[in-house]
Amino acid sequence: MAIQIKNLSYTYLKKTPNEVEALHNVSLEIPENKITAIVGHTGSGKSTLIQTLNGLITPTSGTIEFKDFVITNKEKKNKRIKELRKHISIVFQFPEYQLFEETVEKDVAFGLKNYGFKENEAIEKAHEALAKVGIDESFYKRSPFELSGGEKRRVAIAGILAIDPEVLILDEPTAGLDPVGSKIILDLIFELNKNGKTIILVTHDMDIVLNHADHVIVINDGAIAFEGKPSRLFSDDVSNYSIEIPQLFKFCKLLESHNVKIDIDKIRTIDDLVDQLRSRHG
């Protein structure tokens, strides 16, 4: 099921002199089993949007529909919010701050126990999730606080993965990681998507958008500025959205203008470009 967002608005500190409208009349559909990237400069309303998606904040007006869940502005006392969060989960920016248990496996199992899994079952599922993010057995009994930054982040992501949500929202999952750490996380996200999860990725990195995303949403001043394929976005005039066009894309455009026939829509990585050039020139 896709997530349907209709006329969503959100105002911070309503009815005070400091009120700020973070989202204004946003309507969009987040496609199922795709990687959707949400981009926009700081303060554009990206974080507000993802937080409304799993009921962490209640919209001022408008609705969000997913399966048989409907979020409206009267959702404060909804008992199904917790259930909704089992289907749509958010991995926040710097998720390593949410770690608190004595051991890695206990921390990952924490979310499962909140959803009523028995201890053994939760630990078992935690091990599965840890294996997915590439954390091996030697870490299970260690304290999460003695891990490196990248490892902590993977453990924190495993904590959400263990709940096995259908929609996974990640807020800048690679922020502050070294290139190797970033690659591990991005490959993991790609892998999860292949296995049928809907991914929503908030990012500033346009290379990630080009390499991985199927669908891009640009938010500017609380409204949708663009919605569509990454290649279409980069062909547009993006000067207003503080977006930097990836070098690879610029290079392909340059090739095209020199009459090299390539299919830009299908080029996501350097390897794709190399393959296309090879097949054309034997």
Partner: protein, 294 residues
Amino acid sequence: MDSLTFGRYAPYNTCVHRLDPRNKILMMVLLLVSIFLRVDTWSTALIFTGVIFLFLIILMIISKVSFIQLFKSMGAMWVFILFLLIIYIFIPNPTYDPTHIAFYIGTYGVNYDAFYQSGYIIFRLILMLMITMLLTSTTKPMDLTYAIEWYLTPLTLLKFPSHIVAMTLSIALRFIPTLLDETQRIMKAQASRGVDFNRGGLFKRIGALISLIIPLFVSAIGRSEELSNAMEARGYDPYGKRSRYRVLRFGWNDLLGFIIILAVFGGMLAAKIIDANFMKIDIIYLIFGAKPLF
């Protein structure tokens, strides 16, 4: 979060805002003392606290302090008010005039004086609330700590680390909003893992709190380490001699404000001395020649 906004600094530029924070602290102390000088004769008490009340209302209007915040914090006091009333009504007091019985509960006579006494205390507490609100919402927390440091300086002669205390205080004040943001963030992150902070039994709630408190402590300690490194990297030495960016100045307006407050304080002190030592003057009787009510 709303309950925490009480007395938060409001960045206006009124004449009260511009006063020297050292002077403001001194004036606040004088006003607080004059409020808590107890006057026994009810009409004198009424007139003097009434004058202070009007004076504070005018100050609040001048300095654009939010009345809504005041009412909100008064609303939070109702349990306290109830408690005071119960104590004053049910604990017999020999100084009450036995002829002033309002009504009987069984055979126990409830005295008018009990209502008067508890009302007097509550009224003075509200005045106190107004004064502290006036101070904190017109003075930047940083300026307050500078002022406190200034008052502590004489203690350096006794090897008291007044600068270190002031620095600790200002850092603590600076990080309150940061930690509040952090709390919100961690709560949201844990809510994404199925923690429900609002529902569930006692043990569930304790578990939920642990998942909030431990990460909060970890990040606070991490932050303090980073901060101390950053301070050292910029050459901070608590025992070194430092110059100031913001120099506090005691100007003419400060003098004027101080004289006004001193007059109020003097008036209250005079009322207190006359009331306690010479005679129970009923001011209404004195001015209007009317007979005292009680």
